[in-house]
C-alpha cells in the first residue's frame, strides 16, 4: 500500500475541480498533474442486478434491477434502513453473493467470486481468533502477494500494522483487543492486500461515537496515503458518517425487492474537517436531504393517522 502509485495516470478522476485544487495542495504536484489529465475510469459497474434467495416460505427478492456505476477513487456510501438489501448489494460486488440476474463488473472483469482486487472489511471484523494480530494480516498477505519473499511479506505486514497504530499489539490475540482495535486490524488486513476496491460493510457500526470519529479520519488518511486511488464502497445507516466520508450517497428503498431511491452528491471539499464540516451550510443541506429521503415514509404514515 505504501508503494508509490503517484505516477498512475488513471487516478482519481472522480473529483470535481474544487477537489482537484485541494488535492494539488495535499499531494505532490506530479501526481496532481496526472490527475488533471486523467480520464474518468469506471471501477465498479452494477448492471441490472437482482438478487433473490430461496427461503422455506418461497422466493425472497432482496434487491431488484439495480444499476450503479462507481468511478475509480470514489467513495460511495450505501445507506438505507435495516434489511433493505444494502449488504446484499455490496456482497454482489465482493463476489460473496451471486446475482440472480444481471452482472457486476469490477476493474473491467465480470465478478464471479471473491478476488484479491476487492478487499473486504466485514461487519463483525471476522478476525481468526486463534491467530495473533500479525498472523491474521500475514495469512491474507501470504495468500494474495504471491511474488513477495517472506521477508518482504513480513515487512509489508508490519508497515500496515504501523499505519493503523497497532504495531505494539501485533502479538496479541483478537480476543485481547477492544472493538476499535479489532476494526483497525480488519482494515489493515483489507489494505494490506492492496486492493483497488475496498468494501466496508457497516465497518464502524459496533464502535462508540468517539472511536468511530477517529476511525473515519484514520480511514481517510489511509485513502490519502494511497493517493486517493482506491475506490471505497461502504454500507452504513449513519447519515453523518456517509456525508463525512463519501463523494456520493446511494439511498436505498426499503426491501423486499429494494431499488435505488436516489443518489445524492456530497458537494463538500476535501480534506474535510470533522469539527468544522457540520457548520457548513452545504453539509446541513445534504444532511436534511438524506434525512428526509430516509424518513419520508414515516411522515406520510403520520399524516394518514
Amino acid at each position: 500500500m505504501m508503494q508509490n502509485n503517484y505516477a498512475t495516470p488513471q487516478a482519481g478522476s472522480s473529483m470535481d475541480n474544487s477537489d482537484k485544487q485541494v488535492l494539488a495542495k495535499m499531494v505532490d504536484s506530479a501526481s496532481a498533474f496526472h490527475k488533471v489529465v486523467a480520464q474518468p475510469q469506471t471501477s465498479v459497474s452494477i448492471k441490472d442486478v437482482t438478487v433473490s434467495f430461496k427461503t422455506p416460505t418461497g422466493i425472497y427478492t432482496a434487491v431488484k434491477s439495480i444499476d450503479l456505476d462507481i468511478r475509480k477513487g470514489e467513495i460511495v456510501a450505501l445507506i438505507g434502513h435495516s434489511g433493505c438489501g444494502k449488504s446484499t448489494l455490496m456482497n454482489t460486488i465482493s463476489g460473496m453473493v451471486k446475482p440472480s440476474s444481471g452482472e457486476v463488473i469490477a476493474n473491467g472483469k465480470r465478478v464471479t467470486g471473491p478476488g484479491p482486487d476487492r478487499g473486504i472489511v466485514f461487519q463483525n471484523y471476522s478476525l481468526l481468533p486463534w491467530l495473533s494480530v500479525y498472523r491474521n494480516i500475514y495469512e491474507a498477505v501470504d495468500s494474495v502477494m504471491k511474488d513477495m519473499c517472506s521477508a518482504e511479506k513480513k515487512d509489508h505486514v508490519e508497515q500496515n500494522l504501523k499505519m493503523v497504530h497497532l504495531y505494539e499489539h501485533k502479538d496479541k490475540l483478537p480476543g485481547q483487543l477492544s472493538g476499535g482495535m479489532k476494526q483497525r486490524v480488519a482494515i489493515a488486513r483489507a489494505f494490506a492486500i492492496n486492493p483497488s476496491i475496498l468494501l466496508l460493510d457497516e465497518p464502524f457500526g459496533a464502535l462508540d461515537a468517539l472511536t468511530k470519529s477517529n476511525m473515519h479520519v484514520e480511514l481517510l488518511k489511509l485513502w490519502n496515503l494511497d493517493n486517493r486511488n482506491k475506490t471505497i464502497i461502504m454500507v452504513t445507516h449513519d447519515i453523518e458518517e456517509a456525508i463525512f466520508l463519501a463523494d456520493r450517497v446511494v439511498v436505498m428503498n426499503n426491501g423486499p425487492a429494494a431499488t435505488i431511491k436516489e443518489i445524492v452528491d456530497v458537494p463538500l471539499e476535501r480534506p474535510r474537517n470533522k469539527k468544522e464540516i457540520v457548520h457548513d451550510p452545504l453539509y446541513m443541506e445534504t444532511h436534511d436531504k438524506l434525512l428526509s429521503l430516509l424518513l419520508d415514509k414515516f411522515s406520510i404514515e403520520d399524516e394518514v393517522e
Binding site: 467470486g113 484479491p116 473486504i120 481468526l128 491474507a140 501470504d142 495468500s143 492486500i193
Partner: protein, 272 residues
Amino acid sequence: MPVLYFVGSILLLLGIWTLIAWGNRNPEATDLVERYPLPTPLMTLDVLSEIFANPFQNDPDVKGIGTKLIGSLMRVGIGFGLGSLIAIPLGLLLGSSKFMMSLINPIVQILRPVSPLAWYPLGLAVFSAAGGGDGLMNPSSKAAIFMIFICSLWPTLINTAFGVASIPQDHKNVGKAFGFSVWKYIIRILLPYSLPHIVTGLKLSIGVAWMVIVAGEMLSGGDGLGFFVWEEGFNAGKTTHIIVAILIIGIVGFILDKFFSSLQKAFSYDAK
C-alpha cells in the same frame, strides 16, 4: 483447598465402604475373610503388599499386576490410536461434505449403539482363523484391540464432524475473501476451529475404551486387568483382589481423563 476436598472425598468413600462392609458382616463366622464377604478397607490394605510385591513379574504363567496393567494400556493404546487415526480424517471429511455425511451417517447411526462386547466374538472368529501369535498379537488379544478400535471410533468421529460442520460462516468468508488456498484453509481455519472438538471426542473415546477393556479382557483371558479381576479375584475367591483392581482401574482412568482435559485446555484458544 482442592487438596483438602480431595482428602475429604477419599475419607467419605472409605467411610461408606466401611459401613457397607460392616452392615454385610457375617457375625457367626470366625474367619476374617468369611466374616466380611465385602472386605473392609483395612483388609484390602493388607493384600496390597502381596499384590504389589513383584508388580512387573512377567513369567509365562505368573504375571505381576504392573505387567497386566501395561498389557491393558497397550491394547487400549493400540485400539484407540488406530481408531483415532481413522475417525479424525473421516470426521473432517464428513463435516466438510454434506454428500459424504448423508452417505456415511446411516452406517454410523446403526453401528454406534452396538455394545462393544458384541464385536469381540466377531474379531475373535476372524483373527483365530487368520492364525495366532504371542502376547499382544494372539487372536484373543487382537480381538480385544479390535473391540477397542471400534468403540473409540464413534465419539471422535461424531465430535470431529460436528466441529467441522459448525465452522462459522464468518471464518469461511475470511478464507474466501482473502483467497486462501485449500491447504491454508485447512491448517489456518478448519483445523484450529475443530481441534477443541476433536480433543473432546478423543477424551470421550479414551473413557469408553478404558471401560470396555476390562470387560474385553474378562472374555479374552490370559492378560490384562480384566483377566486379573476375573481369574485372581473372583475365581480365586479373593474379593480383596477385585477391589484392588477396581481401584487401579479407577485411578488410571482418572489420570487418562485428566491428561485429555489438559489437552483440551491447551487447544482451546478462548482459554488463553
